[in-house]
Amino acid sequence: MAALFSFEGVAVAFQGVKILADVDLELPEGGCTVLVGPSGSGKSTLLRLCNRLEAPTAGLLRFRGEDVALLDPLRHRRRVGMVFQRPIAFGGNVLDNLRVARPDVTAAGAAEALARVGLPELFLEREQATLSGGEGQRACLARTLLAEPEVLLLDEPTASLDTDAAAGLERLAMSLAAGGTSLLWVTHDPAQADRLADRLVVVGGGRVEARWT
């Protein structure tokens, strides 16, 4: 079976600065793969490549055997959802934000989406920008999950959360992995990596330094 993502000699450079260099890596399907490394090591760039927010300046990236550059980028991004480091609120209430991901979602469907991430239905009427860090990140996750992604990319999603909120989000993510969603989780926290990883990839200086299964 083809790997979930295959990086073949992938490099990313910006204005002459190498961010990733000659990355050869295969990320398998299923479970939670954690990319760990210090800030600036290139792990977020790896994740952005997977969502096609970045494109390689050299090399080839495949998603389930297909060249990502040849896939429809909009459809690809709906299959490979992404949650960012900070909760990003669009204007309006939580329901308005959910409808950015799926314009035809009904109030009932939206309530179900919130329930899936442990938020009550009454949050639908709240302005998304007024939610706490943990609530906002859950709402962003609900928004991403409305597109029914097969893969979930999480770029240090607990970085701006308190301990309890972070733990809640970790449990939520693990339940999604147990339900069949492949997770790619980026963190700079080795303890978090230890808790979450089914397999571990260490990134440093724009290169993959080690990997464990």
Binding site: L53, L74, R75, I88, F90, V100, A147
Partner: protein
């Protein structure tokens, strides 16, 4: 009084060199020299408050006078009773190119802006001239074409720069929000829409406010010029109203065209937001 006859008054005739009568506001050399007192006031204020702007003011005013005189001499060759229209159209075409070039210089952070600005300004000009001359608001003569086109292009240029710069600033400063929309599978046009909308509102709102307040706060330039030239106030008002609506309409057209053309320049074909570095600090 016939609007066209008033507009056809030769403002740049040899009478320009003769001191004006008190009634018509025509300015002769003595009058022009007298107005330099106001420039001296600016220089004096600059010295008093240590602004170090005196030299800049003198240079700017000198350049402005020289440029206006050159334009006036040029217009005298192109504009006038019985002059054919083709030199005026050439003048308009040169104005368009120059305005597009100025726009690209004022907003260097927008890639490929020269071509887009030219298209936007040309569209605004085409729509506005079609309305003004096609519906018979003014008669199409060399004397009406160049000033009308200049007015449209000059004001639309401001809107072009505002829309372009504001759109880029917003997309740059709110990159995370744009990419969060892209990451959900939205196309570039939808991801950028709130920011383009904000840029358009920023460009149009001042024009709308100026239109709303016209006559209450100050008499606008076209009307002032016509009154000084001795045009009947009601005729001047009619012309001013036409001018205001031209300015508003052209700003809207320019904004609409820019909104369409900016997306392909600021996003890649596969719906990624391009790097948008900040322009170099001029200091």
């Amino acid at each position: 009084m016939d609007v066209i006859a008033e507009l056809s008054r030769p403002l740049l005739s040899p009478a320009f060199l003769v001191a004006a009568t008190a009634d018509t506001g025509r300015v002769g050399p003595l009058g022009l020299a007298g107005s330099l007192v106001l420039v001296a006031v600016v220089v004096a204020v600059s010295r008093w408050r240590h602004l170090d702007l005196g030299r800049e003011v003198v240079v700017a005013c000198t350049l402005a006078l020289v440029q206006l005189l050159l334009v006036g001499v040029g217009l005298g060759l192109v504009v006038g009773d019985g002059h054919p229209l083709w030199p005026s159209w050439i003048w308009v075409a040169v104005m368009l190119v120059y305005a597009a070039w100025i726009t690209s210089r004022r907003a260097p952070e927008v890639p490929g802006l020269f071509g887009l600005a030219w298209v936007a300004l040309a569209a605004a000009l085409a729509v506005s001239l079609a309305v003004v001359f096609g519906l018979g608001v003014f008669n199409l003569t060399s004397r009406t074409l160049v000033p009308t086109a200049g007015l449209i292009v000059g004001n639309a240029l401001t809107s072009t720069v505002v829309v372009a710069r504001r759109a880029v600033e917003d997309l740059r400063d709110k990159r995370s929000e744009v990419e969060a929309r892209l990451a959900l599978g939205l196309p570039a046009e939808q991801a950028a829409r709130p920011h383009i909308r904000s840029a358009l509102r920023t460009a149009l709102s001042p024009q709308i406010e100026r239109t709303r307040a016209v006559g209450l706060v100050a008499l606008p330039g076209a009307m002032t010029g016509l009154l000084l030239a001795g045009v009947d106030p009601l005729v001047a008002v009619a012309v001013q109203a036409v001018v205001m609506y031209l300015v508003l309409g052209s700003a809207a057209v320019v904004g609409a065209v820019l909104a369409l053309g900016l997306i392909p320049r600021l996003f890649t074909p596969d719906h990624r937001l391009r790097p948008l570095p900040r322009p170099a600090d001029p200091t």
